[in-house]
Structures are given as structure tokens and as C-alpha cells.
Subunit: 504 residues, 2 copies
């Protein structure tokens, strides 16, 4: 081995070691966040905020250290087509974003968010926006400061968006939403004209929590969720979180009088978890571990939740089991009736409970509001009003309370501005990817009808999961489907499925 190669290997090893330390601090902070949301006693709030701020600061300081830059420079000529090259490219991208954020700002953001989150929980519980407003007032200027520090060409929002969906732009999202609106708004109008026939009512009733949990576990085990590398806990706002590819946890909220939240929530979070559990384990403790973007991540959760979990095929296998689990409330409910119930379209207040058709209008609303908050054209004090006005405009409904309106989502309390649109990107990609999977493995739909998901999972593992963050979102979409993000398959899917369901 010549001297040149030897030096390059040392550089890479040094870089990997630094990145592993940063990853370990991130994983520790993720565990602190998990614990905060599932088990931490009330008294821990302040200490946890301090602790998470410290870990964020150390991770940031360690990452933006000039030594990281020196190592990245020394490794810059590696081919990004190779794994090492992809690692260097991704690390450089993160490095450039991070070096623009001063440590002081990172720490202030973490602390503000860590205090805001429990305040949001309380605000939502008492439907009192004034408990949350002062926290949002603290978070927004920090977000704006971050956008300025990160830099952007067209709009400060682009700088924030890029943190969740590398390469995405506000202008491009506006075009995407425009296409979706054109297809979805008339569809909703036609469905709404028929009036609500109450078809979703059968999902309400007395559904024992423990039985819900057991059924959910059975389903996600069949999906391929590996319990030796994960677990499920209860929380207010469900999420999936991981500390490396071998400890990927989901959380669920159970409603003993409503089947939907836990049933589809568990499938959804498992979709995220399967992505993380499927990442090449050699990428652990590097910037290549973990999904490549929130949008691609959401394509996985929505695929398992909607394209699998709300499909007729899936329930042709699972409905008898579900009926066996809940003989009383589902006694007189026919399979087809159940299928229509879980796919009922009805404009409603709560995003996470929205049907597939109205869902993206919830996102559009949030996208527009958070863009306005960031650019300062909307004041925090006017947010609840603006929220209600848009709910009226897009969905024709007025939220009954702040708890079920502007306070329903955890995101803003966590400083996740720029995150919401990735939900719609995920919806669009879920169908674009699924079409491709079925094209490559035509046996997938039949498998789903037998409760057999390995063809789908192995295709996802091979084409998406294992790559982690090796490819940027646009690249993976292009690699897998041969073209960029495309709303056509998604709109076609909605029209076919709901056209049939509502005889449009």
C-alpha cells in the first residue's frame, strides 16, 4: 500500500471517529427526548432542558470544529458514487449548514424548545393558546436568525426547509400544492355534496386498549418490525425515534373509544421504523445512517399506513382477525362496510386523523401559516384567528377549540419550521414508489391479501432503506422511479380509490 493511500485512510478514519462522537451525542439526546415524552416526571423539565441544550452544544461544537473542516477538505476528491465519497459529501453538506449556525444560537434554540414542549402539552390540555404563545414568541426570532445565518437565495423559509428536505424550495412546493389543489379540491367538493353518510361511525365504540395494542403488535410484526431492535411505548403525540439502526422505537396513543388513532398510528410509525431498521448497519454512527429526508421518510410511513393498511386487500386478510379481537363492537360490521369506514372522507379538524383526500389541505394551511410567521407577515397573536380562517376556507369547518385547532400539533413547539410540507411530499412519493415496487414485484398486491409483506419490504430494503442517507432525496426518487417527484400517480391513486368508494 503506497503512502498516498495510507494517508487517505488515516483521514477517513479520523473523520469517521469525529462523526461517530457527534452521532453518539445525537443518539443520547434522542434518548433524552424519547424519555421526556414517554416517562419523565414533571420535575425533570428544567434539568432536561439544560441537559439537552448541553448535548446539542457539544455535538455542534465538535462537528463545526475546524478539524472536521480540515478532514473534509483532505477527503474532498473522493468519488461521491462510492460509499466513502457519499459519506464525505453528506457530512460536508451538514458541515456547511452547521458552521453557519453559531453554538450560542443552537443552544438557545434547544433550550427554548425544551421548555416550549411541556408548555404546549399543558396549553393543549387546557386549550389555552396564551400558555403557548410566549414560547412561540421566543422560538420564532431564533428561527429567523437561523435562516439568515444559513443563507438562502429566494426566501428565508428555503433555508429552514432544506434542513428537513435537502434541496427543496418554497417555490417548488407552491407548484406541487397547486397541482394537488387542482385535483383534490373538486374531489372533496363532489364528495361533500353527497353529505356525510356517517360511514365512519363503526370505528367508534368500546375498543379495549390492551386488545388494540395486541392487534397492532401482531400487524406490525407481520410487516416486519423487529422487536429485538425496537419497542413500543405510549405518548401524547406519537413518533418514531432511533438511537442507531438497532434501537428503533415507536410510540402510540390509544383511544379506548376509537379504533383509528392507535391502529393506523402504529402502522404509520412502523413505516418510519422499518426504514430506520433497514439502513445498512455499516452506516451506524455516520451521517449516512437514518433516512435521507423527512419527505422520503414519510413516504414509507404513509405507504404502510395507507397503501397497505387502508387497502381492501389488507383487510380481506385481517378483518376476520380484527373482528375476532373486538367481537362486540364489530359484531354487525361487514368487511366492505369496515373498508368504507376506514376510508371515509370528511373534512375535520385534526390533521393526524384526516383522511387521505383532505390531509394535504391541512398541510397546505400549515405551510402557508408558517411561511407567514417566518417572514413576519403574521404575528403570533393573530395566529389562532388566521388558523381558523384558513380552516374555514380550505375545509369549510371551524375548529371547536384551540386544542383541536392551532394547538393540535407538537411541531412548532419543537422549532420544526419547514417540516410540515414534508408530509405532503411523503404522500406524493408513497404512491410514486409503490407503483414502482408493484411494477418490479407484481406479486406484492396478492401478498398483501394474504398478510404477507416480505415482497414489499424486501423491495423497499433493497431500493430505499439500506441506502440510508447515501443519496439525496431527489437522487433516490430519480434512481428508484426514473423521474423526479411527480404528483400524477398520487392524484391517479386518489381518483381511482375514492372515485370507486364514492361513486364519483
Amino acid at each position: 500500500m503506497d503512502r498516498m493511500t495510507e494517508t487517505k485512510r488515516d483521514t477517513l478514519e479520523g473523520l469517521r471517529k469525529r462523526l461517530a462522537t457527534v452521532a453518539d451525542l445525537g443518539s443520547a439526546n434522542a434518548l433524552l427526548a424519547w424519555d421526556q415524552q414517554v416517562y419523565m416526571p414533571k420535575g425533570g423539565v428544567e434539568g432536561r432542558a439544560e441537559g439537552m441544550a448541553t448535548l446539542s452544544r457539544l455535538a455542534h461544537e465538535h462537528f463545526v470544529d475546524p478539524e472536521t473542516g480540515r478532514l473534509l477538505d483532505a477527503a474532498r476528491d473522493l468519488d461521491p458514487e462510492t460509499e466513502d465519497g457519499a459519506l464525505v459529501r453528506r457530512a460536508r453538506r451538514d458541515y456547511e449548514r452547521s458552521t453557519r449556525l453559531p453554538s450560542r444560537l443552537v443552544e438557545e434554540m434547544t433550550r427554548a424548545e425544551s421548555l416550549a414542549e411541556p408548555a404546549w402539552v399543558e396549553a393543549r390540555a387546557s386549550s389555552d393558546f396564551s400558555l403557548f404563545a410566549p414560547h412561540l414568541e421566543k422560538i420564532l426570532p431564533l428561527q429567523r436568525e437561523a435562516a439568515e445565518a444559513l443563507g438562502y437565495e429566494d426566501h428565508p423559509y428555503d433555508a429552514l426547509l432544506d434542513g428537513y428536505e435537502p434541496g427543496a424550495k418554497k417555490a417548488r412546493l407552491e407548484a406541487m400544492f397547486e397541482e394537488l389543489k387542482k385535483g383534490i379540491v373538486p374531489m372533496i367538493r363532489r364528495i361533500s355534496e353527497r353529505g356525510d353518510d356517517g360511514r365512519a361511525a363503526v370505528l367508534r365504540g368500546d375498543f379495549d386498549e390492551a386488545a388494540q395494542e395486541k392487534f397492532g403488535e401482531e400487524v406490525v410484526t407481520a410487516f416486519g418490525y423487529d422487536w429485538d431492535r425496537g419497542r413500543q411505548d405510549r405518548t401524547v403525540h406519537p413518533f418514531c425515534i432511533n438511537f442507531g439502526p438497532n434501537d428503533v422505537r415507536i410510540t402510540t396513543r390509544f383511544d379506548p373509544e376509537w379504533l383509528s388513532p392507535a391502529l393506523f398510528g402504529t402502522m404509520h410509525e412502523t413505516g418510519h421504523a422499518l426504514y430506520e431498521q433497514g439502513v445498512d448497519p455499516r452506516y451506524a454512527r455516520t451521517p449516512l445512517s437514518g433516512g435521507t429526508s423527512m419527505g422520503v421518510h414519510e413516504s414509507q410511513s404513509r405507504m404502510w399506513e395507507n397503501l397497505v393498511g387502508r387497502s381492501r386487500g389488507f383487510w380481506s386478510h385481517y378483518y376476520p382477525k380484527l373482528q375476532g379481537t373486538f367481537p362486540e363492537p364489530l359484531r354487525d360490521v361487514e368487511p366492505e362496510q369496515f373498508y368504507r369506514a376506514i376510508n371515509a372522507v370528511s373534512p375535520s379538524e385534526i390533521r393526524v386523523e384526516a383522511d387521505e383526500v383532505t390531509y394535504n389541505l391541512h398541510i397546505l394551511l400549515r405551510f402557508e401559516l408558517e411561511v407567514a410567521l417566518i417572514e413576519g407577515s403574521l404575528a403570533v397573536a393573530d395566529l389562532p384567528e388566521a388558523w381558523n380562517a384558513k380552516m374555514e376556507e380550505y375545509l369549510g369547518i371551524t375548529p371547536g377549540s384551540y386544542a383541536t385547532g392551532v394547538l393540535q400539533d407538537v411541531h412548532w413547539s419543537s422549532g420544526l419550521f419547514g417540516y410540515f410540507p414534508t408530509y405532503t411530499i411523503g404522500n406524493v412519493l408513497s404512491v410514486q414508489f409503490f407503483e414502482e415496487a408493484v411494477k418490479a414485484r407484481p406479486e406484492i398486491p396478492e401478498g398483501i391479501q394474504r398478510g404477507e409483506f416480505s415482497a414489499l419490504l424486501s423491495w423497499l430494503r433493497e431500493n430505499i432503506h439500506r441506502h440510508g442517507s447515501r443519496y439525496l432525496p431527489d437522487e433516490i426518487v430519480e434512481r428508484v422511479t426514473g423521474r423526479p417527484l411527480d404528483t400524477a400517480p398520487y392524484l391517479r391513486y386518489l381518483e381511482t380509490k375514492f372515485g370507486e368508494l364514492y361513486e364519483l
Copy 2:
């Protein structure tokens, strides 16, 4: 304010900030450890080991940074009688210990222990010492290396001991054990001569786990455990752990066919937790937060477990409630019979289930074995044999298996050499402190008979808890009782209590 004072204030502030970062890393690592023992899936083992090693290394590096030394030097003339002075003194003590340990060694120890612990769990489950031996073979040389690096006057063991019980020495412990042996061995002989009358049998039966948990919660709530600043979870080997004074958690092991482990285990861990919850909150994120030593800590857990929880007075109030909780198994058990059962003396295999009289012989055995392992006069391969020989010699019994013998304790897998003797220090101090508490607040025993513990708790808060680590163990013992550690009250207590119980 003159310039001199201003500078000193800056120094202290700088020092506090550094120490807060170190404390935050320690708390994060404590949460990783808690999670590892209560909820982490199997797959997380390796990643967690890496993560904990990284956090330990960073905490160590941050603490031993020359800047810490410079700040400590600049603050060296502060009076240790003041709080700031006490903080500087304690930090300097820790600093001197830590600077002697190379980062590389700290990281290797953490990684080895993190891998050894799950191996120990498996070894114990299958009673297979060979699964654990290779891990112990890795841990021991690291411990020896640490002792050499830390330095000592008489024996390498002293260097390790000092980490748990600042100022303690092997030679002094040998003298303490000698005094105890003189009093205890004849007592056991006289009790054993009577033969086992099976008085403890009533504690076995069908004791519903959920009911055990509820009763335990009621008791420790009455003790004064603050659930807003703590929680209880299940684990294999119970422990108390905290992440600052406002998040102090206990863990419990439940046996559905045996009342003792959870009942007294919960009281025990709560004794630890009350100490931590009682530390002055201004000490949070400094080296003064947390109990001053393992021995003083154990004095608190043993006081609540034994002097309160195994007293006749306590059960005069609580036995009717316990009987109400478990009407079936306790139907024909009289209060006095129950009191005799929970204080039955009988040499047995398991330390954590040992009665108050035999307990210290379990410790003596471990103390002698670990001293021999550290000095190298005992090989790992010979440990099971040596364990069994000493069990025979001191307690007259042969362990039925490695699981209930040499593999029963978690400590060695966690690298806690020098920890065991602090259990006996705790037993001795528990009585020395309790006598003092009753002298100062003569209403304490009557309170206990009414299920009223505030007089005891407030005395402990005032005299011991709130000080955290402000005073060294010897100092707090001297301040509270006017003399050094003294085995006489403890032996007197045992003779009185068990003399009556066994009509000696």
C-alpha cells in the same frame, strides 16, 4: 465591588459552567444506563456501549481539561466552610482523581462494563459462569491499571474504595469487620442452634404483583417520596438513579410468590431516593449534588428499609392495610407472627434477601474476594470455588447454583470494585444516625407507629440530605453524631432486637 472580587466571581462562574457541562454529560449517561436496564431492546446493546463510552470520555476530557485545573487553582483560597469553598474542595478532589486516569482507560472501562452487564444478565439466567468470566477477565486488569494510576499508600484496593467512600481504607474496614464479626458470629451461632422454625414461610404465597406495587407506592408516598420528581419501573436488579435532584427514579423487582423482595426493595431504593430528592436544589449540576458517599447513601436506604420498615411500630400501623391488600395469603397470619417473619434470621445464599444479622457476612465475603481479585492472589477461574468455600465458612451453606452464588450481584459486571464494603458502612451508620435522630426528635418512634414519617424525614433533610456532598463522609458523621463511625450502636441494636425475637 472591587476588581479582586469581580475576578473571583468570574472564576467561580467559569468553574460552575464547566462543572455543569460535566454534570449534564453524567446525567445523560445515567439516563442511558437507566434505559439500558429497564427498557432497551436487546439490539441496542452494542450501540449503547459505544454511546456511553463516548459520553464518559467527553465528560472526562472536559473535566480534566487544564482549564479546570487553572480555575480550581484560581479559586483555591476559598474557605471550605463556605458553600463555594466546599464546591471547590470537592471538585478539586474529583479533579485530582480524574486527572490521574487517562481518557483512553476511562473509555475502555466504560465499554468493557457496558458489554459485561448484559453478558452477566445472560450468565445469571443460565447459571453459566463461563459466559461472564471473559468479561471479568477484561475488567480486572483495567481496574488494576486504574488503581495504579490513581495511586495509594498501602494497598491498590484503597485507591478504588476511595471512589465510593472518600477517605476509607482497607485496613480500617478490616478493623470494622473484625468488631462486627465478634458480635455477629456468636449471635448467628446461637440463633442457628435453635434450628429454622420456618417463621418466614408466611411471606411466600400468592401475592398479586399489581397489588404489591400499589401497596409499595402507598408506603413510599407516606415516607415522603415525591412522585412529581420521580417514578418507579421494573428491572432485574433494583437500583435508584437520578438525573439531578428533580428526577430521582427507583426500580423494583416483583416476585408474585414472595412478598419480601419488592416490599423491602421498594423501601430501600426509596431511602436512597429521599436522600437525592432532599439535596439543596441550588447544588444541581455541581459536584455537591448527590449523596456524599455510597456508605452514607446506604445508611439512608437501610434506615428506611430496616429501622423503619422492619420495626414493630411500623407494622402496628401498616399490617392491617397489608392484610387488607392480601386477604387470602395473610388470612391467618397474626401481626406479631408477620413481624417475626420479616425479621427471621437464617443464613441464605442471596445477599439482597439476607436478614439484618447475616447481611454483613455476605459483604465480608465479597470484600475479601474482591481484594484478592484486585491484588491478583485469586484468579477469575478460581472465583466460583472460592465463593462457595467462603459461603460454607461464614454462613454454613453451599450455593445451589452459580446464579444464586457468585453471579447474583451486578456490581462486578459494572466494574464496581470497592463498592461492596459501603453496604456494611451503611448498616453501621444507619443506626448511628437513627439514634441521633430519635435523641433530637423523641416523637419519631411514635410517629412511625401512626404511619407518620415527617419528623424523621425533616430531621434527615436538615442534618444530612440537604448538604449533598458538601461534607465528606467522615465530616458528616462527626457533625451529626459528634464522633466517627462507631459499630457499638449497630451491634447494640442487633442484640436488642434479635435478642428479643429469638429469646437469646
